[in-house]
């Protein structure tokens, strides 16, 4: 029985964590997706017929010699016969993901070998020069690629070129590009090419301002409901609570019209103002204030303190637990909000990270690794907040539920 319970618990734990784990692991894949990773890209193994080969590999100089030896065929470069090198077509590739180039060699005499890239604007830049001593047997060579140090257009590279200088024969086979795996490049790409840096900034500004606004204003209002006596108090408070039930979709059209009238569309104000005072916050803070002893404020009042002093200097410092619950929950809700930011922003610069992510997927040609990297960027801050403040987040939810 015990074992069965643990087995079930673990089974459900795996199910609830697996998708997030898939997101993380896919974000570090260079190309393809998690189950079909493209780590090695074979440029040519010279096994295809010559006419097929020529579509991918071009000779530099006169045409190269294709040699067949037992089961294996390979290319032979011979400067004396006018074959100086090979150029492998790469289309228009981003070489930032590359780790190194691998190929097999055999040579009859000492040669200099030059490896270079050519971009779509026909710039050629060499990234390795190797002196090769005579190698009678096949030997695998590895040449590292450091895209950062190259000056040509590394996002659009069209050719990998291998050339030799000096006299002698060089046999070459199995030319392969190897990607870095795991790679951080997807994150770099997302932050650089889309506006994800800006989106993150927007989300942070909106969330932090909403949190501060809620902490201050909700406690202010809650103070009145907890400590002051006034007409229609309970009626007003039930009004506060009932606004929690109103779906945000009902109020969005008038809010949109108002914001447009005030020229606030595409400003931080449009995203912050509607979130500044929330019924949940007022409810939570009132609950907390009411259980603080009134003797404290009476003593302060004797000393001549006014309401604001009592609120600011006595009640607020005592309410740190409730304030932190409110702050964290507001942060999570604002960070994750979609409906309002989607409608109240239209320009790219003002999107929050959620909207940026949703529209990135809708409007771009994406690959799974870059999309998962973008999702990680949008999701990770909240996951970190959750891991740190798990207890406070859960108690915030329970506080909200008690009102039923």
């Amino acid at each position: 029985m015990r074992v069965l319970i643990y087995a079930l618990l673990i089974f459900f734990l795996v199910i609830s964590l697996l998708p997030t784990f898939l997101m993380f692991s896919t974000a570090f894949v260079p190309e393809g997706d998690l189950f079909n990773r493209t780590i090695e890209k074979i440029m040519s193994d010279f096994e295809a017929p010559r006419t097929v080969l020529l579509t991918r590999v071009r000779p530099i100089g006169k045409t190269f010699e294709l040699v067949k030896e037992e089961q294996n065929s390979f290319a032979r470069l011979d400067p004396v016969k006018g074959v100086k090198g090979l150029a492998f077509s790469m289309g228009s590739s981003d070489i930032n993901r590359l780790s190194h180039v691998v190929f097999k060699l055999r040579s009859s005499s000492t040669l200099r070998m030059v490896v270079s890239f050519k971009d779509i604007k026909e710039n050629v830049e060499r990234f390795a020069e190797i002196v090769i001593d005579p190698i009678p047997r096949w030997k695998t060579m590895r040449v590292d690629v450091e895209a950062k140090k190259l000056k040509l257009d590394v996002l659009h590279v069209s050719q990998l070129r291998i050339e030799i200088e000096g006299d002698g024969i060089l046999d070459i086979d199995d030319v392969t590009l190897v990607n870095r795996y795991p790679t951080l490049y997807n994150f770099v790409k997302i932050l650089r090419e889309d506006y994800f840096g800006r989106y993150l900034l927007n989300s942070t500004i909106v969330s932090v301002c909403s949190v501060l606004g809620n902490l201050f204003f909700c406690s202010l209002v809650a103070y009145a409901f907890a400590r002051k006596q006034f007409r229609m108090k309970e009626l007003l408070f039930s009004l506060v609570l009932s606004t929690m039930m109103i779906p945000p979709q009902v109020t969005i059209i008038p809010t949109f019209i108002l914001m447009r009238k005030l020229n606030l569309i595409n400003t931080y104000w449009a995203l912050i103002l509607p979130n500044l005072v929330t019924p949940f916050g007022i409810f939570l803070m009132r609950q907390y204030f009411e259980q603080l002893p009134t003797e404290l404020d009476q003593a302060a009042r004797m000393d001549g303190a006014g309401d604001f002093r009592i609120f600011w200097n006595i009640l607020l410092p005592l309410s740190k637990p409730a304030l932190s619950v409110l702050g964290i929950n507001t942060f999570v809700l604002t960070w994750n909000d979609v409906f309002y930011p989607l409608i109240l922003t239209t320009s790219r610069e003002m999107r929050t990270v959620q909207i940026g992510l949703a529209l990135y997927q809708k409007l771009n040609v994406f690959t799974w690794p870059t999309l998962m990297a973008a999702s990680t960027i949008a999701g990770l801050p909240i996951i970190i907040v959750f891991l740190i403040f798990e207890k406070r987040i859960i108690s915030g939810i329970l506080e909200g539920a008690i009102k039923s």
Partner: protein
């Protein structure tokens, strides 16, 4: 200054202070709740487009139009179907998990946090993850193929037959943890004496659960069902990011259609009417829940 007057002054000052304290809420309430609700009713009875200020009073014809609009009716039935399937599924699974969690196991908080994690992740991120999981060559199809199933090489979200179901599965996955936490709290607040008594009487675990736990937990269950229904009636983000209502409106929902009508086709008068239909559905659930809870307490 006469003492009587001073007293009045103090009273007035009191009033002003109180007013200043509740002012932030009052302002926010008037601008972002009261005005929109009133204005929405008015707009819902006009043919306002949202692009120009031209509007004409059309009475209730927007509401009449909604119930003749094929797409809206499809959205309505999809949304009801969504609620009717996901809410019971989520409730049963989360109650089951909560019972397991409160059965005196070790690492309770760790498990609970693990189940809860998906509910803090934003719906957009969750949708992206499941977009990948459901994709033609994604993890789900890879898994099914490796188990020997012959699945077509297309996304689960691209077929009319599977799209809505796939979104339901995703929604249940993302929501279960949240309600598990509520149920755990509900279960822990139940009186222990009853259980002791039942054990002495030799009741089996299933009997205890059915005869004691379930009836006592009814208020929590009602609460969970009603907030989950309200939330599910407002389903939008998943639809917006994953399918845009398609294929062939098979995943169109009320709020997504509201968005389409108001902010893509710019028929805000009609959009407001749809918003009000949603409002009344949510109101009905709230009232129903209140009534049932009151019935409980009597």
């Amino acid at each position: 200054m006469p003492p009587v007057l001073r007293g009045e002054n103090v009273k007035r000052k009191e009033k002003i202070t109180t007013f200043v304290f509740i002012l932030p809420w009052l302002v926010s309430f008037c601008i972002f709740v009261l005005y929109p609700i009133v204005f929405s009713i008015c707009v819902s009875m006009t043919d306002y487009s949202g692009l120009t200020w031209d509007m004409r009073f059309v009475g209730f014809s927007n509401y009449a139009r909604a119930f003749k609009d094929r797409v809206f009716l499809k959205a309505l039935s999809n949304t009801f179907l969504f609620v009717l399937i996901t809410v019971p599924a989520t409730t049963v699974i989360s109650l089951f998990l909560a019972v397991l969690l409160t059965s005196g196991i070790k690492f309770k908080r760790l498990f609970q946090a693990g189940y809860f994690l998906p509910s803090v992740i934003s719906m957009v991120v969750i949708s992206m993850i499941w977009l990948y999981i459901y994709s033609a060559t994604g993890p789900l199809n890879t898994l099914l193929r490796s188990l020997g199933f012959d699945v077509p090489a297309r996304s689960w979200l691209a077929s009319e037959r599977t799209a809505l179901g796939s979104i339901m599965v995703m929604d249940v996955w993302s929501a279960v943890g949240y309600y598990t936490v509520l149920f755990v709290a509900g279960l822990q607040s139940l009186p222990l004496q009853l259980y002791e008594a039942a054990k002495i009487d030799g009741a089996t675990k299933w009997q205890i659960f059915k005869r004691i736990t379930l009836p006592l937990l009814k208020p929590t269950i009602l609460f969970v069902v009603s907030i989950n229904s309200i939330r599910s009636f407002q389903i939008f983000t998943e639809i917006f990011t994953l399918t845009g209502g398609g294929p062939a409106n098979s995943t169109q929902t009320i709020v997504h259609y509201l968005y389409d009508v108001s902010f893509r086709k710019f028929e805000m008068g009609y959009g407001s009417a749809i918003a009000y239909v949603l409002f009344f559905i949510v109101l009905a659930i709230t009232l129903l829940q209140r009534k049932m809870l009151k019935g409980e307490q009597l």
